[in-house]
């Protein structure tokens, strides 16, 4: 039996609260603007139909499902050490609070958000988007049930519902896999966009979810794991760091191979889209944000200081934050290539350009959603989980 005291927890102080409040407060302006003016102040449109909101949605789904996939796999299938189970509630909570901004963003992206129910009442199961909605809602239901029983178990202080939670975790694995595959498939089946249309895209989405998810689990463990001074804590943090490092390297190699094949194959439209991802208007998000801060720096940190939990947590946090650049670089450049030569100049008007950069409203709404997610997590952590941190954990 181990004890955990607030003093021994890694203190986050007010910073995350202020960050959440800031994002939420500033973003509220964008939300009000979006509700009052509809889609008039956005930069996506006809030729670039999906912008930052769809990209961030994909990123959040990767985090949400990836974290649970990784967690359930290492805890229930690979039986990693027991100290991981102490962050079970945080992992479920993080997944749930990641899902909230994801659904909010995708709803605000719709031309008619209030018609969302039609995907349930009048579904077209020939569309992968329908499957995505249904799987996401199923996943949400499983997540809610899981969290409910985790919290109930914490309240009773015992180990009840252990087998039920295991079953739920195992059920969530194929649902999560299907969800990630479906989200990847939504893009992968679009023959009109050569950069997307590849059978391995769902696989890349799966790898991305694992990388982002393992980084999130690592971060949560470093922040909320029990008994900082104990060797087990360090050992688990190290193992999680190594897992993140391995998945990160594997993902980087897979992406590099895909990139090389794309460039060597030489299909003009596909190469142009890939070139735009690397050297187009968003070059900085690929080279600086993703490769620099999201891959190179974490790899160095995780390799050089695997035994320092704070460093491991920092590296994992970098991966979690910067991974948002990955879906942006997959989704946006693929839409910037011309389906027909000179189409972009044929008729001028808002949304009829083959260019895209999020407007202030789009940034603000994104900030609002992320602030909301972070705020909900902090609030739930504070209200539901913090009191238990002072008591014993089996």
């Amino acid at each position: 039996m181990s004890t955990t005291t607030p003093k021994k927890q890694l203190s986050l102080g007010l910073v995350p609260w202020l960050l959440a409040a800031g994002l939420f407060g500033v973003g509220l302006i964008g939300l009000v603007q979006r509700l009052l003016t509809g889609h008039q102040l956005v930069d996506y449109g006809s030729y670039v139909p999906w912008g930052i909101w769809v990209s961030v949605y994909v990123y959040l789904v990767w985090l949400e499902v990836g974290s649970l996939l990784v967690y359930s796999t290492i805890v229930y299938l690979f039986n990693w050490n027991h100290s991981l189970s102490s962050i079970k509630a945080q992992v479920y909570l993080a997944a749930l609070t990641t899902l909230t901004p994801a659904l909010l963003l995708i709803a605000l992206d719709l031309g008619h958000p209030l018609r969302f129910w039609k995907t349930i009442v009048n579904p077209n199961f020939g569309s992968l988007m329908t499957w995505m909605v249904w799987l996401h809602l199923t996943y949400l239901a499983i997540l809610l049930v899981k969290l409910y029983f985790v919290l109930k178990a914490r309240q009773s202080g015992g180990t009840q519902y252990k087998s039920l939670l295991k079953v739920l975790a195992l059920v969530s694995l194929p649902v999560g896999l299907a969800l990630i595959g479906t989200v990847g498939g939504i893009f992968g089946v679009v023959a009109a966009r050569p950069l997307w249309q590849q059978s391995v895209l769902p696989l890349y989405f799966f790898i991305s979810a694992l990388v982002a998810g393992s980084a999130l689990v690592t971060l949560l463990y470093v922040l909320f794991g029990p008994v900082k001074e104990r060797a087990e804590y360090r050992a688990t943090a190290r193992k999680l760091g190594m897992l993140t490092l391995g998945l990160l390297l594997f993902g980087a190699v897979a992406a590099a191979m895909n990139g090389l094949v794309t460039f060597y194959a030489g299909g003009p439209a596909r190469v142009e889209a890939a070139r735009l991802a690397l050297f187009g208007p968003f070059w900085w998000s690929f080279w600086l944000v993703h490769l620099g801060l999201g891959v190179a720096l974490p790899v160095v940190l995780l390799y050089l200081r695997p035994n320092a939990p704070r460093t491991v947590g920092f590296a994992a946090g970098l991966v979690v934050l910067t991974f948002v650049a990955v879906p942006l670089n997959v989704i946006i450049p693929a839409q910037l290539t011309e389906s027909l030569e000179n189409l972009g100049e044929a008729f001028s008007g808002p949304g009829l350009e083959l260019s895209y950069f999020p407007t202030i409203e789009e940034w603000l709404v994104t900030a609002f959603a992320l602030g909301l997610g972070l705020g909900l997590f902090l609030l739930a952590q504070h209200m539901l989980l913090t009191p238990r941190a002072t008591t014993t954990e089996a």
């Binding site: 509809g38 889609h39 031309g111 077209n124 030569e341 000179n342 044929a346």
Partner: protein, 303 residues
């Protein structure tokens, strides 16, 4: 006697058009212009069913528009599932006047950012050896439309006559169909209006008030009234060319076809073997865009 011989014999004497054609001196284009016109004279059109414009009667060759109107009337007498609407665009005759684009915007009350039929311009060569090519691009009304299957709520489907339709009240505005269309033929209605979009200039704009009224007036797409109102369909919807279905059902040709001053756009029922479009799509110089994708467009180009 073959049909061709018959048609050739039926060719009338020189007309005012022939004279003008001679002035222009574009022999290649002239051959194309006379092609469909001659065939009309070969009594493929039951002229008794058509009200011809006075300028046409007695002038000799019948304007292709008149022939297509007659064929449209004939097609409308058939059940819907026996019609196969196609459009043929003769690229050699398109002069890039954009009147089809403008008439489409006017007909369907299209707001800023929504266009059903842009004309793509391509400059070929380097100065001083430069020429221009124009490619009008309506919805291809594909036989295998990629936009239909991806709709999560079944708000878009293919009619029996081949036109892909959108139910504006069912569409949730997810824009998956926009991503899936290989021709970028679908556009997103963001709820803008021309007068509001040019707010700074509208004070000095003559007729700004009337223009505002005009663009807020109801469009008649799919045979229904669609007044322009904030948050109400078609605002927030995917929109696309529908071959002016609402006009077809009233026996009128699509707006782009009637306003094409070069008579470069043809429309009709390809299931009617005597129709102009059926003859044109049998030409050896016919092509369709992105055929390699297997979408089987119903818009053909003569090149």
């Amino acid at each position: 006697m073959t049909q061709t011989e018959d048609k050739t014999k039926a060719k009338p004497g020189p007309t005012r058009r022939d004279f003008l054609r001679g002035l222009v001196g574009t022999a290649g284009a002239a051959a194309v212009v006379t092609g469909p016109t001659r065939k009309v004279a070969a009594a493929t059109v039951p002229l008794s069913n058509v009200r011809l414009a006075p300028s046409v009667i007695g002038e000799g060759p019948v304007d292709p528009l008149e022939r297509m109107r007659a064929e449209l009337a004939r097609a409308l007498e058939k059940p819907v599932d026996q019609r196969r609407w196609v459009m043929v665009i003769d690229l050699r005759k398109c002069v890039g006047c954009h009147s089809c684009t403008v008439s489409c915007v006017a007909e369907n009350h299209l707001p800023p950012g929504v266009v059903y039929r842009p004309v793509i311009e391509e400059e070929i060569g380097t100065f001083p050896n430069v020429s221009k090519r124009f490619l009008p691009r309506p919805c291809m009304q594909c036989e295998e439309p990629p936009c239909v299957d991806v709709c999560p709520v079944g708000a878009t489907w293919q009619r029996e006559d081949g036109i892909t339709e959108i139910d504006y009240e069912q569409c949730i505005g997810c824009r998956y169909c926009l991503s899936a269309c290989p021709y970028n033929a679908r556009t997103f209605d963001r709820g803008l209006t021309y007068v509001e979009a040019s707010e700074g200039e509208s004070a000095a704009m003559v007729g700004a008030a009337d223009a505002g009224t005009y663009e807020l007036a109801a469009a008649h797409e799919y045979g229904e009234e669609w007044p322009r109102d904030e948050g109400r369909s078609p605002v927030g919807n995917a929109r696309k060319c529908h071959f002016c279905l609402h006009r077809l059902e009233k026996g009128m040709l699509p707006a782009c076809t009637t306003t094409c001053m070069g008579r470069a756009t043809y429309f009709g029922d390809a299931n009617d073997p005597d129709s102009l479009v059926a003859e044109l799509i049998a030409s050896p110089n016919v092509m369709r865009l992105k055929e390699e994708l297997g979408t089987k467009p119903r818009v053909y180009y003569l090149a």
